[in-house]
């Protein structure tokens, strides 16, 4: 129990401090290794357009992990919502309908995952690996393995809203990601729903005894995850001007890495949206940093692996020392 408020504050935000320092150190190393690349604005501009695609699902995943669950299905959720969006847009040309359709599809997939986990009782990691294969397979059947061309969408107002460039440099998707992060941050830290997520993940028995509707909370976490995946899928389609059947597949590693680097507890009950966002930035700049330092692209995964294991170990050690 600390008496000096400054030290108490530092102690309280130690996870956030640790991750911010890690990001700073990485930036300094990359700038020293390749000053031409990392001292020019253009690399940061491209980070702003690519990182949000997996940062938005990572924010949703933070909620799922806090309530003690896992969602391995989300790459297929992104692809399926993207498919619904593209299909509706090419068939009707109606932007609002396409967006609503995609959001409903994503939320419904998440909701189904939640039902399987909560009502039937299948452990979430197994259930969602199953549904990931199912939805990916269904997508392939529906599109016959072919991409959907969305040419023309980059001239529509949709593009300005979801994938435009503010002042010619800052991507709309980055602004969406920041907005979502702030909202979810408030939800997790200052709303009764966030509180219910924390207690459900920490100690389900206690949560139940104190009147938290545990089943409903878990199902809604999966549904919210589906909703955020749909947003990511829609933005990806609009930014690229096409939908492709393997959409979302590369994000599995990136999303989990962002969440766990960010200090969200592997055991549930605790999580930080700020941490997840900084984690996503770290993961997003690693590849560029490695390539521009002149190393082969094969190093990227190795470095991802090291960062994940080291940060997860660090947090476990910190959590142990913080408990008496």
């Amino acid at each position: 129990m600390y008496k000096r408020p400054f030290i108490a504050l530092m102690y309280h935000y130690k996870m956030q401090l640790a991750i911010s320092m890690l990001l700073c150190i990485m930036l300094v190393v990359f700038i020293l290794a390749s000053p031409d690349t990392f001292l020019s604005w253009s690399i940061y501009e491209s980070f702003l357009s690519t990182i949000p695609f997996f940062a938005i699902p990572a924010i949703g995943m933070t909620l799922v992990v806090v309530c003690g669950e896992m969602d391995m299905c989300f790459p297929s959720t992104i692809a399926m919502s993207g498919f619904v969006f593209s299909w509706l847009w090419t068939a009707t040309g109606n932007s609002a309908l396409s967006i609503i359709g995609a959001l409903v599809a994503g939320t419904a997939i998440g909701w189904t995952n939640g039902l399987i986990v909560v009502k039937i009782g299948v452990p979430s990691i197994i259930a969602t690996i199953g549904t990931q294969f199912f939805w990916r397979g269904l997508i392939m059947i529906l599109c016959s393995g072919l991409a959907i061309d969305l040419s023309g969408i980059q001239d529509s107002p949709l593009h300005h809203v979801f994938a435009g460039r503010l002042a010619g440099h800052i991507s709309s998707q980055a602004l969406w990601a920041i907005g979502i992060a702030v909202m979810v941050g408030f939800l997790l830290n200052r709303h009764v729903y966030g509180d219910a997520l924390r207690f459900t993940g920490d100690n389900t028995e206690t949560a139940l005894k104190m009147g938290v509707p545990v089943g409903l909370v878990r199902i809604s976490a999966f549904s919210l995850m589906g909703f955020f995946c749909a947003i990511s899928g829609i933005i990806a389609c609009i930014e690229m001007g096409s939908w492709w059947p393997t959409q979302g597949e590369g994000y599995l590693l990136l999303v989990f890495a962002s969440v766990f680097i960010g200090g969200t507890s592997v055991f549930g009950g605790e999580g930080s949206v700020y941490g997840t966002c900084v984690g996503a930035i770290i993961i997003g700049i690693v590849e560029a940093g490695i390539i521009s330092a002149g190393l082969s692209g094969f190093w990227t995964r190795t470095v991802y692996g090291i960062i994940i294991v080291v940060s997860a170990s660090l947090y476990v050690v910190m959590a142990k020392s913080g408990r008496r």
Partner: protein, 255 residues
């Protein structure tokens, strides 16, 4: 004296096993009742009926003068009637800050469901100071519940129940896994329930602990109330003899 709880001819069986046999019990609104008995005597079955975990097969129950309709009674409803059960293991979530543990499920919030965190932290500090007796200076409501000792955790759960105006607090074996020092603390918290003008049912195996704080002791044996004596009618010796005599009777019957 008015009654917080009146049980009339409650019976409950599980399959062929008769767990409660025609149990009737009245509890005053500021009475600390010690509920004693061996394993399988029916103590927990009785408490579970009171706190709405399951209904009895027959009999009736009044809480605060209101007759309970068991078809619409549940754990959540029992809390609305002012009955709160404190379990030793599941009282708190360890990683959560103290203030979240006090207010979980009952947050002070605005119309949109956002929590008034600053106010909850202030109230938590008061509660930690007044009920558990921790020094107010340097205490941080943001610390996780795991910083509290076993006895203090029971204290926080008891203080929480009192803060939310529970009329009847049921303690289910609150001292089983605690050291002597921690047990003393919990007995102190039970005295605070008395001072606050609330009622309490204290379930225990330990006669000495019950005798130290209870106004009245009820002994159960194989689903029946076999003794019901107020504190001035008994001594620790007479209570011990009584319990031993029932255990003997049980042994003789088993042979």
């Amino acid at each position: 004296m008015s009654f917080i709880l009146r049980l009339n001819h409650i019976s409950k069986s599980f399959g062929a096993v008769l767990a409660l046999k025609d149990v009737s019990l009245d509890l005053g609104d500021n009475e600390i009742l010690g509920l004693l008995g061996d394993n399988g005597a029916g103590k927990s079955t009785l408490v579970k009926i009171i706190s709405g975990i399951f209904p009895p097969d027959s009999g009736s129950m009044c809480v605060n003068g209101e007759t309970i309709d068991f078809r619409r009674y549940s754990g959540a409803r029992s809390r609305r009637f002012g009955i709160e059960t404190v379990h030793q293991d599941h009282a708190l979530a360890e990683k959560q800050p103290l203030w979240r543990n006090v207010f979980v499920g009952r947050h002070l919030k605005n119309g949109l469901g956002f929590i008034h965190a600053a106010e909850e932290k202030r109230e938590t500090l008061k509660l930690l100071h007044n009920v558990i007796g921790l020094p107010a200076e340097g205490l941080d409501p943001d610390l996780p519940a795991s910083v509290l000792s076993g006895g203090e955790r029971q204290g926080l759960a008891i203080g929480r129940a009192m803060y939310f105006q529970s009329h009847l607090i049921i303690l289910d074996e609150p001292t089983t896994a605690l050291s002597l020092h921690e047990t003393e603390k919990v007995l102190g918290f039970i005295k605070k329930i008395k001072e606050a003008g609330k009622a309490c049912i204290f379930i225990s195996h330990n006669i000495a602990q019950v005798f130290a704080v209870a106004d009245r002791c009820v002994v159960m044996d194989r689903g029946e109330i076999v003794a019901d004596e107020s504190k001035n009618e008994m001594t620790l010796e007479s209570l011990t003899k009584l319990l031993i005599s029932f255990n003997r009777r049980q042994e003789i019957l088993h042979v």
